[in-house]
Symmetry: C2
Subunit: 86 residues, 2 copies
Amino acid sequence: MELIKVSANSRTSAVAGAIAGVIRDHNHADVQAIGAGAVNQAVKALILATNYLRNDGIEICCVPEFVEVEIEDKVRTAIRLVVEPR
Amino acid sequence: MELIKVSANSRTSAVAGAIAGVIRDHNHADVQAIGAGAVNQAVKALILATNYLRNDGIEICCVPEFVEVEIEDKVRTAIRLVVEPR
């Protein structure tokens, strides 16, 4: 399963399209963000994706979790939004 | 229903306790944040609350939405996390 990585500079509409596409294909999407700016973009993208999918009759909800990720040999704490149909 | 307002300076454990308490009492919690720092704190608090409630056998999930709020006569866009048992 592809992980959707979001940065503080990600375009919310592009991320939203990715979330909606992965949900349509797999009924599950993992969205990962590190840092406040990235988390904010991820949540905004999720709102847009929720609206896109609602138009198709799909209601999604999200369970956030912490995940440890290794970036350039350093362990950082990321936030992962686990998205699924309700 | 009480609205749980989160700022960038909110303590995540305090917000998490509030979310868990409101879910236990009402089966529904609305968590509101304005700005990236506040949204980040809200999501982190939601992760903690998810873990608290999981220990009680309650699985929650969240649907985020935009809301317009008026603060000091200015309209601002807030993010509201609507939290309910799955």
